[in-house]
């Protein structure tokens, strides 16, 4: 086993920013808006670094797909403890239509190329909320997947994953190589320390093009329109249960 872990990190609009829709309803305003690493990706990086600190894996490689600015996100991962980075350059129109299908193809190709033992991703990105990349990557590689992980432990060549599911918590044991996706309660990401930020400057980030990996980026989806959610309407107060049922019938909800 190579002991190498691939961690996917995505550059998204910072969670604290108030989102605005573009006037032509084609998307969301991203120019001049603060971006940072997807919070679930931070949790994924933290888990990978923790595994390395426990000496269960040997190398953490941070991967990001996007334009030049994605390198900042990789640098943050390096400052948290990743060993090296891979920047898959995708810009312009390709970047606007980049979705889970394309990213999972890229990750699958990289996993084979880097001989990865584990791929750890965030469960979903906070800009599109797709929750698909991890699952698609596992399917393309025909690897087992441990998604919505709230606890991860390694047991030789197997991984024990406690998953957060609708009914509660589910514990599964899967063989490596495998894909894991991090949920909120997996860990609390560390702050990058000033010395680590400086050390991260010396770590390498390799540049790769999707064509080099033999990946076709054409999207099967077309975004027609982006709108803000409807303004919340005022509610109504009713006196009795009978009134409530009547109102529900009137508005056609029942």
């Amino acid at each position: 086993m190579s002991g190498r872990v691939l961690v996917g990190v995505k550059r998204v609009i910072d969670y604290a920013v108030k989102i605005r829709v573009k006037p032509d309803n084609s998307g969301v305003v991203t120019d001049g808006v603060k971006h940072s690493m997807n919070p679930f990706c931070e949790i994924a990086v933290e888990e990978a670094v923790k595994l390395k600190e426990k000496k269960l894996i040997k190398e953490v490689v941070a991967v990001s797909c996007g334009p030049q600015q994605s390198q900042e996100t990789i640098r943050t991962a390096l400052a948290m403890g990743a060993d090296r980075g891979i920047h898959v350059e995708v810009s312009g129109k390709d970047y606007e239509t980049l979705g889970p299908l394309q990213v999972s193809k890229i990750l699958a190709a990289l996993a084979k190329k880097e001989d990865a033992q584990l791929i750890i991703l965030g469960k979903q990105a906070i800009d599109d909320d797709c929750n698909q990349t991890g699952q698609m990557t596992a399917a393309l590689l025909d690897w087992p997947q441990g998604t919505f992980a709230s606890e991860v432990s390694m047991d030789g060549a197997q991984v024990k994953v406690v998953r957060e599911i609708d009914g509660g918590l589910e514990t599964i044991k899967i063989n490596t190589p495998a894909v894991l996706t991090a949920d909120l309660r997996l860990n609390t990401p560390r702050y990058a320390t000033l010395p680590n930020i400086m050390k991260a400057k010396k770590k390498k980030i390799a540049n790769v093009k999707p064509a080099d990996l033999g990946v076709d980026l054409t999207s099967r989806l077309e975004v027609l329109r982006v709108d803000e959610p409807p303004q919340r309407q005022a509610g109504m107060k009713v006196e009795t249960v009978e009134d409530l049922v009547e109102k529900l019938r009137d508005t056609g909800m029942v």
Binding site: Y15, I19, T193, L194, I197
Partner: protein, 421 residues
């Protein structure tokens, strides 16, 4: 960042994921919002932006939620400061060989500005603490210990003495040599951290009158003869305890002296330039946070049938505040760069930066409070704490003295250099 209130990081994440509320943006407000005009990351290198990001995150998650509690209950947040030290904030411009982070003055200013948005008082204390490691003119047992950079102990630095405010060179605490000890007598008022910290760096008179008779001694807590006055009740800076430090026949070993005898004043003055930049940077952070708080309030508060943000006078006022904030920031960063490069204008720039920035930033915070109307006066709103906390920045680190330095240096630089040599 500070405006986000006491929600924890994960709770806020949860909120965002549910996307429960979205503000419909008022189209009358300019497209390039005020937040991007006053964004403190413009013109910085990639690395500096990384430092700033860590500092902002730390301020928003570890300091801002507790800022009000620390102020009202007068809590000295040692644990939070230790966490900050572990990230490297304890000795930012101290050399790595003695446990610091080895960064520049400009990096330091950027970091303190960001930390200040979380809690001015605590950040100011971290910045004062940093004086320590710079004091060492010759090797002594304190120089190489990591606790200088906060990881183990917390320490105070003193210069201010009752009886000689701005006129530091006339200080009266005496230190008579007796065998291999100095015997200290005297008292010093307004010592930040006094009584709660482990090490005190004291300027005292070992020789004759004037600056050349002053030396610098390190006194550890628990030394017989070292005692403290009552904890002062202050308008702001309440997360730092302030007490008078009293020396009554306090014996301090000669090996605790930093530098040679008579070098104390020089050591103090050298630290002052950096100290002024740091205090000015803390004021910047508070002003930045206050402008964002004011903007948020204007977008929400409605009077005369529309939000205050539509009021032309307030729009102009906010624009002025933003302008003065950016002007102040540029002056501080230039002073930091000058100090780092030991330029000829470093001393006067640091003095000018401190004078201008502390005044302007206080005015900005004050204006922000005014824009909140009656709510600004309530302790539920953070803006009043920023106003109270940075008011003292206009007082300490010398006010008239550097106006004096500024004017003197215009007319008689050679005599000034002679005095400080």
């Amino acid at each position: 960042m500070a405006a986000l209130g006491p929600l924890s990081r994960t709770a806020r994440l949860g909120c965002n994921l549910c996307r429960k509320h979205r503000l419909v943006f008022n189209r009358n407000l300019q497209r390039r919002g005020i937040a991007s005009c006053i964004d403190p990351s413009y013109g910085l290198s990639e690395e500096q932006k990384e430092f700033q990001k860590v500092a902002f995150d730390f301020a928003a998650n570890e300091m801002a939620p507790h800022m009000a509690e620390w102020d009202q209950k007068e809590i000295f947040p040692v644990e939070t400061m230790r966490k900050a030290a572990q990230l490297g904030f304890g000795g930012i411009y101290v050399q790595p060989e003695v446990g610091g982070s080895g960064l520049s003055r400009l990096d330091t200013s950027i970091i303190f500005e960001a930390l200040s948005t979380g809690c001015v008082s605590t950040t100011a204390y971290i910045s004062i603490h940093k004086y320590g490691p710079l004091r060492c003119a010759q090797p002594c047992r304190f120089c190489n210990s990591p606790f200088y950079c906060f990881s183990e102990g917390v320490h105070s630095y003193r210069c201010f003495i009752s009886g000689s405010g701005s006129d530091a060179a006339s200080l009266l605490t005496s230190a008579r040599l007796k065998g291999d000890h100095y015997i200290l007598n005297g008292s010093k008022a307004f010592i930040s951290g006094g009584g709660d910290t482990d090490v005190y760096v004291v300027m005292c008179r070992t020789g004759g009158k004037g600056p050349k008779g002053i030396s610098c001694l390190v006194v550890e807590k628990g030394t017989p003869g070292l005692s403290f006055g009552k904890k002062e009740k202050k308008v702001g800076w309440n997360s730092q305890p302030t007490r008078a430090v009293i020396f009554e026949d306090c014996a301090v070993p000669v090996t605790n002296r930093l530098g040679a005898e008579g070098q104390g004043f020089n050591i103090a003055m050298k630290g002052l330039n950096g100290g002024r930049i740091n205090i000015a940077s803390c004021s910047l952070g508070a002003a930045h946070a206050s402008v964002l708080l004011a903007r948020d309030h204007l977008l929400v508060r409605k009077q005369f049938g529309e939000t205050l943000a539509n009021n032309q006078f307030l729009q102009f006022k906010l624009a002025e505040m933003a302008t003065k904030l950016v002007a102040s920031r540029l002056l501080v960063r230039e002073a930091a760069t000058a100090l780092q490069q030991s330029r000829a204008d470093a001393v006067s720039l640091c003095s000018m930066a401190k004078l201008f920035v502390t005044d302007e930033c206080f005015n900005i915070c004050n204006q922000a409070l005014q824009m909140h109307g009656g709510y600004g006066y309530l302790k539920d709103y953070a803006v009043q704490q920023f106003v109270r906390d940075i008011r003292v920045h206009q007082i300490l680190e010398g006010r008239c003295i550097f106006s004096f330095l500024c004017s003197r240096s215009q007319f008689d630089l050679s005599r000034l250099q002679e005095k400080l040599a």
